[in-house]
Chain length 252, copies 2
Amino acid sequence: MSLESILNNSNNYQPGLSIDCVIFGFHDNSLKVLLLKPKFSEKWTLPGGFVTVDDSIDVAAVNVLKERTGLTGIFLRQFATFGDINRDEIDFNTKVLEFFKIPKENAKWYLQRFVTIGYYALVDFFETIPSANGKYEIIEWIDLNNIPELILDHNKILNKALENLRLELNSLPIGFNLLPEKFTMTELQKLYETILGRELDRRNFFRKMNSIGILKKLDEKKSNVSHKAPNFYCFDTENYQKVLKDGLNMGW
Amino acid sequence: MSLESILNNSNNYQPGLSIDCVIFGFHDNSLKVLLLKPKFSEKWTLPGGFVTVDDSIDVAAVNVLKERTGLTGIFLRQFATFGDINRDEIDFNTKVLEFFKIPKENAKWYLQRFVTIGYYALVDFFETIPSANGKYEIIEWIDLNNIPELILDHNKILNKALENLRLELNSLPIGFNLLPEKFTMTELQKLYETILGRELDRRNFFRKMNSIGILKKLDEKKSNVSHKAPNFYCFDTENYQKVLKDGLNMGW
DNA sequence: ACAAAAGTGTTTGGCGTACACCCATGA
DNA sequence: TCATGGGTGTACGCCAAACACTTTTGT
């Protein structure tokens, strides 16, 4: 949705409220975040959007995700709402309007104080089709170890999302949305390690994961590796959903 | 702040955004929540408020707490934001306007769709001075085991607050804000038990608490009990703050 | 003396950590 | 046959759960 069309229909949008999504993907054994670099800004931004007056905020977040990745039915969690008074969104939005040469008078809706609701998502890197919104921005997977300076409080939002993801790891199984259908135990371990930011014992991880009962060992091994061929696993969807619902208790 | 004065200054208020606070207190060995019963409603409500355009949302929450309890410097945590489309706040707010005989035309600000940010607070029951807002409502401590039907999605908000409080119990020391200055170990245990909703072993709790190092044993015992006099304890403020900042890791 | 709850000590089992060892595969 | 990482077994130690026992107070 372009800024012009939003401003032309600003009555349809919840005033002063936005959504920002921290979209995590996993590739090359490292955790990535989907970020935007608009032409009108030196800094990068989180993909975001607005809330129409007749959509629930969760639906608005789902829509952002769909717009930016093409994906639906994804793991998505609200984690915090940001409403500090020094978010400086009015200054920033003024610059955006100048770039697009939209007169301030036509953009009252855009020049108010904004509060933003943060969501984070876990998506399959290879299923994702990152979509820039028109020619004024590029969208890219950025490695978590290499996050640039972001606009407003977006760095804070991203860090908070990561913090929450780490916490959730203790009570939720993850990986289903981040990994391809078939994967090796080591790939799953690397995922956990990048999220947690530290190394885990290979052998203990192996047993811990198996004991949860959300993995199915496949009759297939990875080939073309110059060592013992590791087995492929997939998630046992039924059990996975059950554990996702009931929660689980593992300290990492 | 009365509804009339808010409507007269609606430009000063963030549109479509409200704050709801779940204020927990501890008394008679049970957990209570501060609730309002407005005259214009069959149901009870959580104490809430609105956000002025130049206050951060956290400040708005602090203000609600101060208004309702007279307290400042209290443990207060944002836990979730609620923006389902079936919150039905417009229907409800319409009834409120009818009760106060405010014409709809003067209350556009009030008749939009609202999203609400949930906070929970832990306060000292005896320090709290519950304040009703004018003569159109009463305010009361309601036992957690006896929560009535609340307006809109307030029951859901309350339950979510409790859920979050229980989670936080694993990483934070609590009690400092909920108990009087001097207390016995059993009183502290009852507090944990009511929050968790289950009984704990007296002896293991005793040792666990002592091992954290946030308690100071006082040279004073409770008298007039027909059994061995329990010792009084207080919190070691310095250590308590340290643990509050650094977090802690105890499964309950 | 007795009831009731505080406070102390001890046992036990499960789980996480650490690590030794064998296995399979490509070069 | 060697390097490399996959997969299995096991021993140790800590901590939480369970419970026996002693202590102190009022009646």
